[in-house]
């Protein structure tokens, strides 16, 4: 039986449940010094003086770095892209300027963490403060058109204005989402060790080992081949560990300067200033439709904050380009505003999860305005042609997601009127939202080695951030090799392995997975070649395509001759057989088909109208993510994504004090992520389609998709329950009272 498609348990499970999986800060480096950051108290201005004399005298202190004595760093490359190193324009401790609260203004290195932390409190700083720039109500006036960094900033297909002008029914509303932080359970950490030969090893909490290496090479002025980045287990990334943030560069530069390994682990509070976040958005959507609900024009504009030194764009209107067609046209636009926070970054799910809140809320408003069932409205506007590019979709099973999801959810038992469903004093509401998610195509290399002991080794420079990479790569290789799962070992997370891409954007399965598949094929084909034409070839005369491998045994019908991989290697005097996989897809935009994954999310909420409290009682996610390699880990991604959506909808917001320009709720009792008690039983449904345009594996992206359109499904359910339309996330108590 094929190992692909099997719901196998995680291969690293025994390590993780026993506390034996070693994360970056668990790796003990003898003699390493520990560093602590002195953060800026102000958000905008400069340091007039930094007095480190007391800190330097404190017990255990090895060195104190400020902008005056920190080694100068080379500027980061611009512009960014997902293929090039991720870094910020801002580099730590290079001058006296302050651009955000929490920005490092000194780094204390000491023998122990306690000593470094204490000494850091002894540093006296004098500031010259300016009024901070914040993302306030007047942001609209200060917004500007940014240069492109991922996709085109604006888009226009057809004539959206015409469609809106002529529409029988028009929805025009503004929706806002809050700043949010990743809050991975594992704080960012970096341990930098320089070798006597000028080589650098970085133990790093990263979703992008090769990006980290490339950026560190540029900024530190060290050839990339002299840098090794290791990241075997990452305690949650969600996009926030894909960039190289200031702590990594400070640890490396400090370690070089003092001639000793340095570990720098961020405090929880540090994580709210230095390492990115999801930017807030202010979005305006206009939908025009005929009386039946068929869309005639769509306009979607979004404004989001960026830092004062980088042009990060939250492409909130991206999904709107391709989800629904409009007979006259679709236009989208993004602008950004400078604020005194650090540069935002990708956070599950960047772009789409924000834009879909607006778009799919507006679609719900349109459903009520046209007296159309919200599922039926979406089915009416479904399409197989990408409205943006005009290309056919490779696969688009959105219709099945909607219909199968509705059937399983029991949508037909919903009464359409708001406030019409109750349980005693509790109002019940049900809502739906659809989603489209970008498919990333990035190059990846992998190596698969068959060994004479009958085992195989998979090597790929990818990451385990929770997605199950160790597990699914093993399944892919075992499937191609025709070997039992327990004979295959996977190695990840080290730049000495074949180069792969960042583990972001739900891209690992389709791309890194494809490279593993190709590498396994190459290794297997070498073995087949030996079986057909090697020394004492056991399958001589058979055709290569007739050879099958089962449990490591190669055979070709109709003969009953067979040989194991091990026998073939022994017979040919080989210790191992290596296959290289080099997956190098054309960019999606240049292909013949438009490739996206899709979903429909159904939510049920219970609202206590006295208190304005919303409890999610049911969630169902129906996903078209192509072929599912491991239903068990894939289901967990669905579960996790839905819960991320619950957080976005009801709980999460990083609040800025507008006078100070700093985030206020910088801990896990102030920033609320969902707790176990917030989450009901969740239902996950896969509408599987093998998508060979997306990947030779047939798989499309899943992890990010699952966190998209949960918030609008919940907010639409809240409207159905209460008759109140909330256009400002999160839906907290006061908005419903």
């Amino acid at each position: 039986m094929s190992s692909v498609g099997q719901a196998t348990s995680r291969v690293e499970g025994p390590l993780k449940v026993a506390g034996e999986a070693r994360y970056t800060a668990d790796i003990r480096i003898e003699g390493a010094a520990h560093a602590a950051i002195v953060p800026s108290l102000i958000a905008n201005g400069r340091t007039v003086s930094v007095d480190a004399s007391a800190a330097q005298q404190a017990p255990g202190v090895v060195a104190v770095f400020t902008w005056r004595n920190m080694p100068r760093l080379n500027p980061t490359p611009k512009p960014w892209s997902h293929l090039h190193p991720h870094g910020q324009g801002y580099l730590p401790l290079q001058d006296d300027s302050i651009h955000y609260a929490g920005q490092p203004i000194a780094l204390v290195v000491a023998a122990t963490l306690a000593q470094a932390t204490h000494a850091a409190t002894l540093i006296r700083v004098e500031y010259e403060e300016e009024k901070p720039l914040v993302f306030g109500p007047d942001a609209v006036d200060e917004a500007f058109d940014p240069p492109q960094f991922l996709w085109p900033v604006n888009s226009s297909v057809g004539d959206a204005d015409k469609g809106l002008a002529a529409a029988a029914v028009k929805i025009e509303q503004t929706y806002t989402t809050a700043d949010r932080h990743h809050n991975q359970m594992e704080p960012h950490a970096s341990t930098a060790i320089w070798g006597p030969d000028g080589s650098l090893t970085l133990y790093e909490t990263t979703q992008h080992i090769f990006g980290a290496r490339e950026l560190a090479a540029i900024v530190l002025g060290v050839p990339p081949e002299k840098i090794t980045v290791v990241s075997k287990f990452v305690g949650g990334g969600f996009g926030g560990k894909a960039y190289v943030w200031p702590h990594t560069l400070m640890a490396a530069a400090a370690a070089k300067q003092i001639g000793r390994a340095v570990r720098l682990q961020l405090t929880r509070a540090n994580m709210y200033s230095m390492v990115g976040r999801q930017a807030a958005t202010r979005q305006t959507i206009s939908l025009g439709a005929d009386q039946t609900g068929r869309l005639t024009g769509i306009r979607h504009e979004s404004i989001s904050p960026t830092s004062v030194f980088d042009n990060y764009i939250e492409y909130a209107a991206l999904g709107t380009r391709s989800l629904w067609p409009a007979t006259d046209g679709v236009s989208t636009k993004h602008r950004i505003v400078r604020v005194n926070h650090n540069t935002p970054t990708a956070m599950r799910s960047p772009h789409e999860a924000l834009g879909h809140f607006a778009l799919e809320s507006a679609m719900d408003e349109l459903a009520y305005a046209t007296a159309t069932d919200p599922v039926a409205l979406r089915l009416l506007n479904d399409t197989q042609i990408d409205p943006h590019s005009g290309r056919p979709f490779s696969t688009r099973a959105l219709g099945e997601c909607l219909t199968q999801g509705a059937a399983r959810f029991g949508w037909d038992r919903r009464s359409p009127e708001p406030r019409s469903m109750r349980d005693g004093g509790i109002l019940i509401g049900q809502g739906v939202a659809a989603a489209i998610y970008t498919h990333w195509r990035w190059p990846s290399k992998a190596r698969v080695t068959l060994r004479s002991d009958g085992t195989a080794l998979v090597e790929v420079g990818s990451h385990e951030i929770g997605g199950g990479t160790y597990t699914v790569m093993r399944q892919i290789a075992a499937d191609v090799l025709g070997m039992a799962l327990d004979r295959v070992t996977v190695t990840l997370g080290d730049t000495r392995l074949p180069a792969s891409h960042a583990s972001i954007g739900s891209a690992t399965m389709a791309n890194a997975g494809a490279s593993v598949m190709l590498a396994a094929r190459a290794a297997r084909d070498k073995a087949i070649e030996l079986a057909l034409r090697g020394r004492d070839a056991p399958l001589a005369g058979a055709a290569a395509e007739d050879v099958v491998v089962t449990d490591g045994v190669l055979s070709a019908a109709p003969t009953n001759v067979s040989a194991t991989y091990a026998e073939l290697m022994t017979r040919n005097g080989l210790q191992s057989l290596e296959g290289e996989g080099n997956y190098d897809p054309v960019e999606e935009a240049n292909g013949p088909k438009a490739i996206f994954s899709f979903s429909a999310v159904f939510a049920e909420v219970r609202v206590d109208p006295d208190f304005g409290t919303v409890r999610v009682s049911r969630l169902l996610g129906a996903y078209d993510a192509g072929r599912i390699i491991n239903p068990k880990t894939a289901r967990s991604q669905g579960v996790g994504g839905m819960i991320w959506g619950v957080g976005q909808a009801l709980l999460e917001q990083s609040e800025t004090d507008p006078r100070m320009g700093r985030f206020v709720n910088r801990n896990l009792s102030g920033y609320l992520v969902p707790a176990n008690a917030d989450i009901p039983e969740l239902d996950v449904l896969f509408v599987e389609r093998f998508d060979d345009e997306a990947s030779p594996l047939g798989a499309k992206g899943l992890g990010e998709l699952t966190a998209v359109s949960v918030a609008p499904a919940i907010v639409n359910a809240v409207y159905h329950a209460t008759g109140k339309r909330i256009r400002d996330l999160p839906v907290t108590i006061e908005k419903l009272m």
């Binding site: 405090t267 304005g612 910088r666 801990n667 009792s669 707790a675 917030d678």
Partner: protein, 331 residues
Amino acid sequence: MRVLALATPEDPTQAIAAHAADPAVAFIAGGTDLLGLIKDRAARPERLLDINHLPGMSRIETFPDGSLRIGALVRMSDLAAHPGVRLRFPVIAEALLFAASGQLRNMASIGGNIMQRTRCAYFRDEDDLACNKRRPGSGCSARHGVNRNHAIFGWSDACVATSPSDLAVALCALDAAVIVRGPFGERSIAFSDFHRLPGDTPDRDNVLERGDLIVAVEVSANVPGRASHYLKIRDRQSYEFALVSAAAIVELEDQRIRSARLALGGVAHKPWRFAEAEAALRGAALDDAETLRSAISQSFAEARPLAHNSFKVELAKRAALRALQIAGARA
């Protein structure tokens, strides 16, 4: 952390003497609040007295007359699981079970629980922001800052923080007493006098003086606690401090309220007792929501919401009403 020394006193007298003699000394029991404050440098004791081994302070005693004595070192989880407390004082068990998490309840002591300091984000910030509780005279960042979670009653320009303890709200409603031993002997402090309003000295949360050690909390037999309820409203379903909470204890006669005790949490620097409402509730029919509601409103004449928490006024009224109704249903 900058703790330089630790000692383990053998008896209360020793502990009290050591505490009284030195302003840099603090008691530590569960540590679940104090260590957070120390890490955030909102408390800076240099020496800690580990009082966990003091004798006689870990007992829960229920007496035949219905009264209750809780040793200050009793853990939250033990008190919440105590069959007599569950039966006779549901408001206490509920206040405990709706607080913190299972792990924290296994650690935190009852004495420490009612000593908990505010969760005001400005006060807790490890960057040492302006806060009169933290550094007297430095100003109140929350007064004109982000203050959704802050007080609507009894605040001053110097401080708008709220008290975070759920248990304290229940104990306040129960007219409990805090038994304190100090350098000059033992005294009993009425619960509603234990916590202070901020006034000009918000650095002081309560009336304890240096050398004072809480040894127990007592609930008198005069309060029939069975018909009681603790209701907690928060954004997250669990593991979160209250936005607003209400403790209600009701005595009924022919489905009319003979006496009601009502205290609210999350609204002031101390548990906020609703004396006017309690008086107005006397004689009201439990099923007459309008009358109950208007009686409760009597206690809101002095409500002064801040920029971000005006919703708390209505929320507090509704919470009080619901708590009363649920408590009454248990009568």
